[in-house]
């Protein structure tokens, strides 16, 4: 009746197995659709598929790109996971990345940046800036009931324009007319992670370590602190949380703020990383939104996020490689991403699909899904 560890673990394994099955199923469907597209448009579709799926582990350089991408996807996946666990729909990670990058750039290009404190100060500034950017929609929702989807989306674009402006007109730049700042001093740039004789992986920097640390911290916060338990309870059942005396509004705001800090961290990882080492316009390339895929496939579980990020990063980089070596543009990955999100976020499952297409018409409900009702 009471504590039977084997039964405990087996039910959890069952859940993990069925979730993974669902995700893998979605991935296969998405890849199949992408393959059909490639088949129709490429002169060498099978070669393209080969490059997409197998070529990444062949060279240290591509492995570095892959792991670096995975690290960034992990951070944005964690940010969205936090927000989703609290049942909020703040979409502001992109904006947090940009303001974080701006803050990091200011620190890096200031006298502090030239000292040993360049990296830590930059990262902390970035996290603070991101936290503020996450706090704003949170407090607006908590105090005024203002829709956090709209406010966070608006803040994204404001951040991007702010970055464009600062880079063009305010921050020091190497020559007039270029849309980038000066290179950051080496002390403000994350050093390469693996650089030995014989194994020189360029693009991979200490950001990778920070991503792993972030996973540990977020996991710890969610599952080992009372704040995390309160957050999950609010996400499960806000009425019950209120009944238990948990201050739901404080929890929601703090969740969005913490996610904001993660977004800011990602910004600093971008501009203080080996990939850039300076602030330019539109450096982020919409990566922040791919965190949505990572979060929902990982079911917002921090420990699953890096695994999903690894798989997804592999696909993304595979697509880049495919773009370089074959005639298939990398953007076909957008099709894959979209289909995975659509399938995993719905009630899709093998049995559901069978029932859906057999009956032909699912019952209309009056229930409007959460996002649109949050006005």
């Amino acid at each position: 009746m009471s504590n039977n560890p084997t039964i405990d673990r087996s039910s959890r394994w069952k859940a993990i197995r069925s979730e993974t099955g669902r995700a893998v199923g979605a991935l296969l469907i998405a890849l199949a659709v992408a393959f059909v597209v490639v088949l129709l448009t490429s002169k060498a579709p099978f070669e393209a598929l080969n490059v997409l799926l197998t070529q990444i582990p062949q060279k240290p350089r591509t492995i570095g790109l892959w792991l670096d991408d995975a690290a960034k996807l992990t951070i944005t996946g964690l940010a969205f996971s936090l927000v989703f666990q609290a049942r909020q729909f703040s979409m502001g990670v992109q904006g947090q990345v940009y303001v974080g990058a701006i803050a990091a750039a200011y620190v890096a290009l200031s006298p502090i940046g030239a000292t040993w404190a360049g990296i830590p100060a930059g990262m902390i500034a970035a996290m603070l800036a991101g936290a503020v950017w996450g706090f704003i929609p949170g407090i607006a929702k908590a105090k005024l009931g203002a829709n956090e989807i709209v406010s966070s989306l608006m803040l994204n674009y404001i951040a991007i324009e702010l970055c464009n402006y600062l880079v063009r007109a305010q921050l020091p730049k190497p020559q007039a007319g270029v849309l980038t700042t000066n290179d950051f001093p080496d002390t403000a740039v994350l050093p390469q992670l693996i650089k030995f004789d014989g194994l020189n992986i360029t693009r991979l920097d200490y950001g990778f370590v920070f991503a792993l640390v972030a996973v540990a911290i977020v996991w710890f916060a969610l599952y080992r602190t009372s704040w995390g338990l309160k957050l999950r309870l609010v996400g499960h059942n806000p009425r019950f949380a209120e009944y238990s005396g948990i201050k739901a509004t404080f929890i929601m705001v703090s969740a969005m703020t913490a996610a904001g800090a993660l977004g800011g961290l990602l910004g600093s990882m971008f501009v203080q990383g080996q990939g850039w080492g300076k602030l330019t316009v539109l450096f982020e390339g919409n990566l922040a939104f791919e965190g949505i895929l990572v979060a929902i496939v990982a079911r917002s579980r921090p420990l699953a996020v890096p695994i999903v990020a690894l798989f997804y990063g592999y696909l993304r980089q595979g697509a880049q490689l495919m773009n370089i070596r074959t005639d298939v543009p990398a953007e076909v990955i957008g099709v894959v991403t979209a289909i995975i999100i659509l399938l995993v976020s719905s009630s899709y499952s093998v049995t559901f699909m069978k029932r859906l297409f057999r009956r032909g018409a699912a019952p209309a409900t009056a229930a409007v899904p959460a996002g649109s009702a949050a006005k």
Binding site: M1, S2, N3, N4, P5, I7, D8, S11, R12, Y223, R224, T225, S226, W227, G228, L229, K230, R232, L233, H236, N237, R239, F240, A241, E242, Y243, S244, G245, I246
Partner: protein, 514 residues
């Protein structure tokens, strides 16, 4: 010939609940026919079947002598049956006439013919004495008028039979009279009205015929003129065998909590608790008797701090509760078992251990410096699972894997893990199997025996009679009777007060109100 007949209707819901069992109903044209019964008697299910929202498993429906089957409300509406639910389906910002005609609008080409719609609604309103202005937005109308809009919706679609589901539950007394005027006018113009109700004085005033239901069966059909209040109450409430749980003698002198002049207003603006004075002492169980919706739930929520009060004074453990948060009140020794365990009492997606500790997150046994002591939380869960015989795979299993009875046990375990000073209980054994019910009764009584003050609200009279030391009857938000529990106290007596048929004098009440 009867207009509408239900013969031998049976309905069993998946999960085994038998809502209707051989139910018979005979509705004559042009009459006001009341269907009465307690909660759970099966009235709503029968009405849903008549309106096509549910399909019966057995029996037949005859309309004008011909068998009919309604696969959905649309068919019932087309057959001339209209239903007005307790919860209205009106679009708040739309005008009255828009709500009435929506779905069957008069058109001029592709244009909605507003003039015609307004005129038609006005005409119906005048014809049936349902005075309501067609133009204003529905949300600006008082509840009584909103109800008229709902009735107009059915009349607009040429309903011959109108089913009104507890129409007076949401109305103020004057509005009730206006409704009755409208009903009489409807009947005078050839309509037939089926009226589901709890409040016997109203039923006796307005209806021609009454069908009584109890526990899924029809107990009988009587002509209103021929029935007495007492016999009606007896038919409704029945002769249930009263079990009594053994209680220890306790010192009941110490007042633990009290409310004075409590007034609570609901979201619609209706007063649901209308000046309540009540005290509960250590070592006693006070049962709040009443048909659901007469203020019991709101009283408990107000004391727990989950509902704002419009007026009045709440005292818990000699402290003024005004301004005290839910957590503060729990700190004073308050524990509460809510009415709806899934909506309010549990986070079904979280584990049993997490649910057991959710109300204690500022307790240093489980949380220190913001960190969870997982070992202590798990140990607590293991201990409580054993003590309360909760059948679950383990403390880390999600609550959603448990049966209804075991879910309730989790709630009970959490609230009674430590001896509370004040225990508020609402529907403790609803949807719970017999074994768990006995267990929960025992647990509540044990808490009382150890000195807790208990306020118990339940729709189950036998439960109240089994557990309570004193009983207080609420009707329309006020106390209308108070009793000290004794073997002579019968459900029928309680029924008379529950259904509004009589009120005790202040002197009689003082005997049992301390």
């Amino acid at each position: 010939m009867a207009l509408l007949e239900a013969i031998g209707i049976g309905k069993t819901y998946p999960g085994g609940v038998v809502a209707n069992d051989g139910v018979n109903l005979v509705i004559q044209p042009g009459e006001v026919h009341a269907v009465v019964g307690e909660n759970g008697a099966g009235k709503s299910t029968l009405m849903k079947i008549l309106f096509g929202l549910e399909q019966p498993n057995a029996g037949t429906l005859l309309l004008d002598g011909k068998p009919v089957q309604f696969a959905g409300p649309r068919e019932a509406i087309d057959a001339g049956i209209g239903m007005v639910f307790q919860h209205f389906s009106l679009v708040p910002s739309f005008a009255v006439y828009e709500n009435v005609v929506m779905g069957s609008e008069p058109k001029a080409g592709i244009r909605l013919d507003r003039k015609k719609a307004i005129a038609e609604v006005q005409a119906l309103s005048d014809k049936f004495r349902l005075k309501v202005d067609p133009l204003p937005a529905v949300r600006s109308l008082p509840v009584g008028q909103q109800q008229r809009v709902e009735i107009l919706k059915s009349l607009y679609r040429n309903a011959r039979i109108l089913i009104l589901d507890e129409p007076t539950a949401v109305l103020a007394p004057q509005e009730v009279q206006e409704l009755f005027v409208a009903i009489r006018s409807l009947v005078a113009q050839g309509k037939t009205v089926i009226f589901i109700a709890h409040k016997l004085p109203e039923v006796l005033e307005i209806s021609d015929t009454i069908t009584v239901m109890r526990q899924g069966k029809t107990v009988g059909q009587v002509k209103t003129k021929e029935v007495t209040e007492k016999s009606l109450a007896a038919m409704m409430v029945g002769r249930e065998v009263s079990l009594r749980v053994e209680r220890k003698p306790t010192d009941q002198t110490q007042r633990v909590a009290s409310v004075a002049g409590l007034r609570v207003v609901n979201a619609r603006g209706t007063e649901v608790v209308a000046g309540l004075d009540l005290a509960v002492h250590s070592g006693e169980i006070v049962g709040l008797v009443g048909v659901e919706g007469n203020g019991q739930a709101e009283t408990l929520e107000a004391i727990a701090g989950l509902r704002a009060i419009a007026d009045g004074h709440i005292q818990i453990a000699n402290e003024n509760a005004a301004g005290l948060s839910v957590l503060d009140r729990r700190g004073l020794g308050l524990a509460s078992i809510p009415e709806d365990r899934i909506a309010e009492g549990l986070a079904t997606g979280a584990s049993v251990a997490e649910n057991l500790v959710a109300t204690k997150l500022n307790d240093s046994r489980y949380v220190r410096h913001g960190l969870l002591d997982l070992k202590a939380i798990k140990a607590n869960a293991v201990k409580l699972i054993e003590r309360f015989s909760i059948r679950v795979g383990g403390p880390s299993y999600a609550v959603s894997t448990l049966s209804g009875g075991n879910m309730q046990k989790v709630v009970v375990a959490r609230e009674l893990a430590e001896q509370p000073n004040l225990l508020l209980v609402n529907q403790p054994t609803r949807g719970v199997d017999l074994g768990a019910t006995q267990f929960i009764w025992r647990t509540i009584t044990d808490a009382r025996d150890a000195g807790a003050a208990v306020l118990l609200s339940s729709a189950d009279l036998s439960e109240l009679l089994a557990l309570s030391d004193r009983l207080v009857v609420l009707y329309r938000g006020k106390i209308v009777a108070a009793f000290v529990n004794s073997p002579d106290l019968t459900p029928e007596t309680l029924g008379t007060y529950m259904l509004g048929l009589s009120t005790q004098t202040t002197a009689e009440m003082q005997v049992a109100l301390k």
